[in-house]
Structures are given as structure tokens and as C-alpha cells.
Amino acid sequence: MLQLIAGLKIPAPLSTIRCTLFLFAALAIVQPGLAQDTPLISGGVGFLTETNGGSTSYVPDIEPLLAAPIGQHILVESRADLLEFFSPTGGNQPGYSHSHYNAFTYLQGDFIVSRHFTLVAGDYLIPFNTYFERLSPIWIGNFQDAPLISSIGSFSSGSGLGGQLRGNAIERSKFSIDYAWFYSVRSSNEQFTASRGTGGRASLYLPNQRLEVGVSYDRLLQGTHENFVGTHVWWEPKDTAFRLRSEFGRGQHAQGYWVEADYRTQAFGGLDSAIGRIEPVFRMQQTFRRDSIANDGLPSVNTQRADFGLDYNLPHNTRIITSYARQFSDNGNRNIWETGIVYRFLIPVWKGKR
């Protein structure tokens, strides 16, 4: 499914309006004095299609992001997701049915004490592995859909409500270690659904090798307490436009991994040439079910999937994203075709002083 839908919450309009009013109130108290600290609205707008097992769905989607600094140490930031999902009616009925989703992906305040300590409060993306924090924005991901294991360690909603401490633990010329630790309370608020739990992530980065290795752990502290562990390896060799990203996740009922590689050639006039803008992408995924006791968001049977993508980076922050995937499982093998176009915008909220 599309990452946006795999993503998470389906809130009611009233709650969305309340949150929007809160954001406007936050904007109202921002001091408009600093020349380079004007609040911004960024995000992506896209039109995506997916043909899965012969059934085609269409998704116009907007993911706005707001970032508003307050003083020298505070940042209020939020991302939302507004999409309409058109899919065949089914049951031998003609036509399409549609549904819409409006959800805050996160809404948090950051208090930056130093590079070693940043206190995050509010509704935040759970720092488990890398996908949700780094690759889930529509304008960043190389594929439309989330990895099959993305729900591992995400406590169903993908976000936590409470506090988070993060920063850089150690930095030397040859390596650095970052950390993030969170505690989330249980919430059934329609806009900020969250589970009680705690956990964190630590990652080692080697700048000379451009290699990052990290481990994640979190524990659900409600209902049946469950543990989740994850590791990630990212590698971007110096002076190339090649990137290798991978994650492994293990939950109480299933485990799996994904490995993704993308490349842009610089041999024909650089990255901004017609050929340099082409970006072949490959992703391999496997999930292994340990038991079928609970619905944890992973496929109900062992699944293997290979995604072959070809993206094109147009000028003016626009990307065309296409991919073909072949998925193998005991529930049947299937082909998944995806195409989409995404435009990224980035503008100041007001004119401000220069």
C-alpha cells in the first residue's frame, strides 16, 4: 500500500481544525525580526498511481510541513498528510469509490539546549530505525510505498506522544555517535493516537567512509508488553551519487529486512544533465513470520519482494517516480506497478525583513 496510508492515522475533521488553529497560534507568537529565521511552509504535492494485482488506484496527495522558530532555541514543527484515495469499487461493480485521509504526521516542539541535548515534546515520529524519520516524506522517498517492515517498532501509529531526548553523544574527527531516547504515553485522542512505550536509537557515523551503522530498540508498555529491535546500515561512498540504505527489524511476531540502492551517473555532464537526472533504484525486501497471533502490519505469510525503480529528477524540485515490483508469497505472487509525480515546495510564511 501507499506509505501514506500505511502511515497511520485517520482523524476526524474537527480535531484537525483544532490542531490547525494551534499551529496558527504558534505562528502568531513567533517574532518576525530575524532576517533568516522566517517560519516556512515546505512539503510535497504529488499525484500517485498504483496497479497492484491488476487493480489500479489513484492518489492525489499533499504533505505540508511547517517549521516556526521561536527565539534562539525553540522550533515548533509539524507535518500533515492530506490525500484522496480513488480505487475500483470492486464486487463486479463499475466505477471507482474514494475516501480521504487528513492526518497530522507529527506536531512537536524542539528545545535545543546544545548539540548534545535537544528536548522534543509533543507528537513525534518514533526514532526506531530510519524510515519514518528520514525517508517517509513524499518528496524524499525513492519509492511510493513504505518498506514491508516499516511497522516494526512503530507502535502501530508510527508516532509517540510525550518526550524525546536526542543529540550527539560523541564527536571525533573520525567518528560520531548520535542518540535518541523517547518515552510515550498512551493516548486515544483521534488526532494523536499513541501507545505507552519507550526506546531509542544509537548510530555510529564514520565520515571518511561515509558509513552509518545504527541499532534501535523499543518496548511496548501496554497490553502484552513486546520488544522490538532493529539495525540499519547506510553507505554513501565519497564523490559518487550512489547510496545504499538498509534496515533489519525484528518484532514479537515477525521480522524482515530491506536493502535499497540508488545511483545517478555523473559521467555525462554531471548530475544536472539530462542523463544525470535519471536515477535507477533497486530495493529487495523479505519478511519472515514468526507466528500469526497478532496483526502487526507485516504480511501474514513469508513474503519476498524485489522493487525496480526508475526515477527522474526534473528541474524545479520535481520528481517522476516509477517502479515495478514482483512480490512472492504463499498468498499468491503479484506484480505491482507504481508511477507518480511529486513537486517539492519551500516558501517563507511571510515576507519578513532581509
Partner: protein, 101 residues
């Protein structure tokens, strides 16, 4: 059906082929241009080596540079990235110079 072992082997094979292609390009003798940053940022990079290096180490791991934006929001972008990438104040200033040469 593809077995789990077969899948892992395929993934490792493809990763090694891609790594080989990258190594071949690295050893071709022609210095490659910096990875990822879009045109306006690349121009600025010539005068701001530190900022460019910081950008590549901390930002381009996840995304390409946006293709130009108002200088009025460069500080806000950096504060956002400071939280995400645990940037120090010095790195933030270097990046600010890199974005606004």
C-alpha cells in the same frame, strides 16, 4: 517461489555489482563532482568547502539540496536540520554561509 536464502543471495549480489560500478567510477582518474547538491548550492560550494562538506556528511545522506530557496528561511531550515542531524552551532553557521554565499 523465491526462498529466503535465495533472496538474500540476490540482494548481496546486486549490492556487490553496484558497489563495483561505483568503485570503477571512483578509480577512473577524473575527479567526480560533489554528490547531490543542486546547482545553486554547488556554485556556492567553491567558496565554502566546510559548509559543502558538512552538507554532504549530514544532509545529503537523506536528500538532495532543494533547488534554491529564499534566504529569509535559510536559518529556519538549518534549525530544523540541527534537530534532525544533531548539528553543532558552528556547523549551522558554516551551512548558513554555504546557503547564502
Amino acid at each position: 517461489m523465491m526462498s529466503p536464502k535465495h533472496g538474500i543471495t540476490c540482494a548481496l549480489f546486486l549490492a556487490s555489482v553496484l558497489s563495483g560500478a561505483v568503485s570503477a567510477q571512483q578509480s577512473s582518474g577524473t575527479p567526480a563532482p560533489p554528490a547531490r547538491p543542486a546547482a545553486p548550492v554547488k556554485q556556492a560550494a567553491q567558496n565554502h568547502g566546510d559548509g559543502e562538506q558538512i552538507f554532504q556528511q549530514h544532509c545529503s545522506r537523506c536528500h538532495a539540496a532543494p533547488e534554491g530557496f529564499s534566504p529569509r528561511i535559510s536559518g529556519t531550515i538549518l534549525r530544523h536540520m540541527r534537530v534532525r542531524a544533531s548539528l553543532s552551532e558552528r556547523e549551522e553557521k558554516e551551512l548558513l554561509r554555504f546557503f547564502n554565499p
